[in-house]
Symmetry: C2
């Protein structure tokens, strides 16, 4: 189902983007995120918990509690989130599954794949959550700003 990143990771990217649209100081609850983004409630809870542990989010319990960004939106790149959830093994893994991905005994696809992998990396580090939130046009995300 997922292409490159785990389901958890996809959910994390979606949720953090949503949280970034909230006015500063306002918390977003798991309930709201789960409902609007259609993510399993308890599963999302665990994921956000992890992001808090990694410092990307902060949390608060009790009524009107929830989650907020742990640092400025522009300082959280997609890479930070992927790194926190899936790890970054993909940066040195072969797409064909050979044990050792190096230029030592390159196959016919190595250069092509190397470029693509760099492209993925570039996408992740060049896009931050501020941009993602700002440019987000999907209707379910319009609610966050309200």
């Amino acid at each position: 189902m997922s292409i490159i990143f785990s389901r958890q990771c996809e959910y994390a990217l979606q949720a953090v983007t949503y949280i970034a649209l909230k006015p500063s100081g306002e918390m977003t609850s798991i309930k709201e995120l789960a409902k609007i983004l259609d993510i399993p409630y308890h599963f999302l809870g665990k994921i956000l918990q992890n992001l808090v542990y990694k410092g990307l989010l902060i949390s608060q319990k009790g009524p009107s509690g929830g989650f907020a960004l742990g640092m400025a939106a522009k300082d959280i790149t997609l890479f930070h989130i992927v790194e926190a959830i899936d790890g970054v093994d993909f940066t040195n893994k072969c797409v064909l599954g050979f044990p050792e991905c190096s230029g030592k005994n390159p196959c016919a696809a190595h250069t092509h794949w190397g470029n693509l992998r760099d492209g993925i990396y570039q996408m992740l580090v060049s896009k931050n959550i501020a941009e993602m939130a700002k440019d987000m046009k999907k209707p379910e995300y319009q609610l966050a700003a309200g």
Copy 2:
């Protein structure tokens, strides 16, 4: 663990490339493939069985039996193999996991991701097994030609 393609698919790509190095008419057994490429024997059996069903390989039972290419090596692209094992959903799926990957409400990463996805597709259709086999320098593949 795998980046884009399933483990099965990776094994298939490796095995078919190995088979392509054998002189025409010679069959390659599961035993040989499993040993040299370090792939679980029975698991590989199932995978090759599937590739036979899809027409990419042919098989023969009995002593000196095994598998051989079902068509000319230059006519089997990486895409054919991926298509046979994993399917090609990745060609229209969002890397961030949003339900609907279209240009309708594009996010900030859409263009970048679209290019990468096209690049992956291009890699798969432009590389065929003849090329892969010919350019293969990995030592375990040198045995095949012997």
